[in-house]
Symmetry: C2
Subunit: 331 residues, 2 copies
């Protein structure tokens, strides 16, 4: 609290938000200005096994150090935005026993960090934060209706509808990754079967390739002890038929899912981020072409599909963007 006690002057003319990214493996922090520029970006391991108390203490130290590296004091901040893996209640700022932070139970993350730093804190689902980041500072600037997907370990998503961030009834909505794509299909991490995530996530792409090999399929991937989605993408580019079939099945299914979402949301833009989407045109082109054909008219004609622009700082920028949005809209 010493930072706050020493600060008696009027806040700086520029608005700054501290963005914090709480992930299962690492914590990140960065000071983000109102135009989306990041200062003093720092990262440290989460050490999630130490439990919430120690991790939050670590997060607050990282926060103080980062603000200080940016030449600012805590009192100079308009707000702190935290993005965290869900489920969580973005209104209360309580995280509800997230699978990526095993054994945490219910943690009032916003209140604990606010008490420690003496600054207003907003907590946001990580996919929603990334959505707001791309909308305010990335590929979706100036767009009124957009969908965002991060296709990586899982399939996260978020939506901006009519110029407003969509959070669902309790702040965990926009979970488009858990739309059923294959009746009685692959078991998903959410407990249901056949979700989009159970096919199109990086984890699922790798698992599907492995299963084809275990079923006797021939592939250059068979030599690898541990297959990941990047390996499948690389093998597909190199002409490996099994990898190509897995990739094609993935882009077909993802495109069909997007077509459905286009019919529901009629977005102007769909932004694709995360490791799988970072393969670039190999993912983007077939997904875009097929989704536009499958979607109804006129929705399929107006929608654009673009790659995300924010890269490794997406979490921090997104968390800050979501906090800026809360401050601006008063929601």
């Amino acid at each position: 609290m010493s930072d706050r006690q020493n600060s008696t002057e009027v806040p700086a003319a520029d608005d700054f938000v501290l963005g914090l990214d709480v992930g299962g493996t690492k914590l990140a922090a960065g000071v983000v200005s109102a135009d989306g520029r990041v200062q003093a970006f720092t990262v440290t391991p989460t050490g999630a096994g130490d439990g919430p108390e120690q991790v939050i203490a670590r997060l607050c130290r990282l926060a103080r150090d980062t603000v200080s590296s940016a030449g600012l004091r805590l009192a100079d901040l308009t707000a702190v935005g935290i993005c965290c893996c869900g489920p969580l209640d973005s209104r209360s700022g309580v995280v509800h026993d997230p699978p990526n932070l095993l054994g945490w139970g219910d943690v009032p993350l916003a209140d604990l960090v606010a008490a420690e730093l003496g600054v207003r804190v907003w907590v946001e689902n990580d996919a929603t934060a990334a959505t707001v980041g791309e909308w305010r500072f990335g590929a979706g600037r100036g767009i009124r209706d957009l969908l965002y997907f991060t296709v990586s370990t899982g399939v996260g998503s978020g939506a901006v509808i009519d110029g407003r961030v969509f959070r669902g009834g309790r702040g965990n909505g926009g979970e488009l990754g858990h739309t059923l794509m294959v009746a009685d299909g692959r078991l998903c991490g959410c407990g249901a079967r056949g979700c989009l995530e159970a096919y199109a996530s990086g984890t699922a792409i790798a698992a599907r390739a492995r299963e084809r090999i275990d079923d006797g399929g021939h592939s250059t991937l068979a030599a690898l002890t541990d297959i990941n989605a990047a390996d499948v993408a690389r093998a597909a580019r190199a002409g490996d038929a099994l990898a190509h079939a897995v990739w094609r099945e993935t882009t077909d299914l993802f495109a069909a899912a997007l077509a459905g979402f286009i019919n529901v949301f009629e977005p102007q833009l769909i932004v694709l981020g995360g490791g799988v989407a970072r393969t670039g045109d190999q993912f983007l082109v077939p997904v875009r072409e097929r989704a536009r054909v499958l979607a109804m008219r006129p929705a399929g004609e107006i929608v654009e599909v673009r790659q995300a622009q924010l890269a490794e700082k997406a979490g921090v920028v997104g968390a800050a963007a979501a906090a800026f949005d809360r401050v601006t809209t008063g929601e």
Copy 2:
């Protein structure tokens, strides 16, 4: 225009909207008061084959007669709300060659009716209108986040998000019936394959029963020349195994679709209307139970699934409700 010329007094203290329902087979009209009560409900065949000019003339005659039967003049109306089968642009009020009004092409429905009646006209997609009707005057009163489905010839849908009617980027969004449920599945009327509508609509339920019989399945339905969804429901209740399997497959698939939508929207309430839902608990109970199990937590725990309350006047009440909503919100 004579009604308008004769009217010089201040509008009545009560707000009245004329609701018009333009369907492929019939036109309906009713004067709806701000509390949702319907006066002077009238219906006439559309005669869609006569083309837009004659149908719109017929609609306007019906409008005048209905207002007059209610003891009002056109000038007493706050607005006219029209619900029509899509696709249409609800902002411009232009209907774009709807499949149910074959050969119409693009028709500026709102402008034509407004010019004829001299009253402000709002046009709404029929599923969106029904959604607003249930929200303002039916099963969804007082709810901030709800989804509505009409399960009949097709599967129409609409959404209220955070207390606002969701229309998608161009007014045809909320088409949840065209979400992919079965990859490379049954051909849907929209041109894509495997949509929810291609399995769960009344038409699809009947067709799937017929196909099972044609494939050699035994059923009491085999004796009928023309099977409809009500026949399948009745046979299933009477213990017919084939009909029961078709019904079970339908409720399973519909529940899986709802689970996905619950994950996306986190609604407090889902309202089910249309002929298939009017079978009551036979449809509602298995759909509700399975959807809540399949959906993620906490979304699956908070959602309720209820039957629609507005019956044969749903179109007229919905059209009026949507117009009241436009007047209130200024959107």
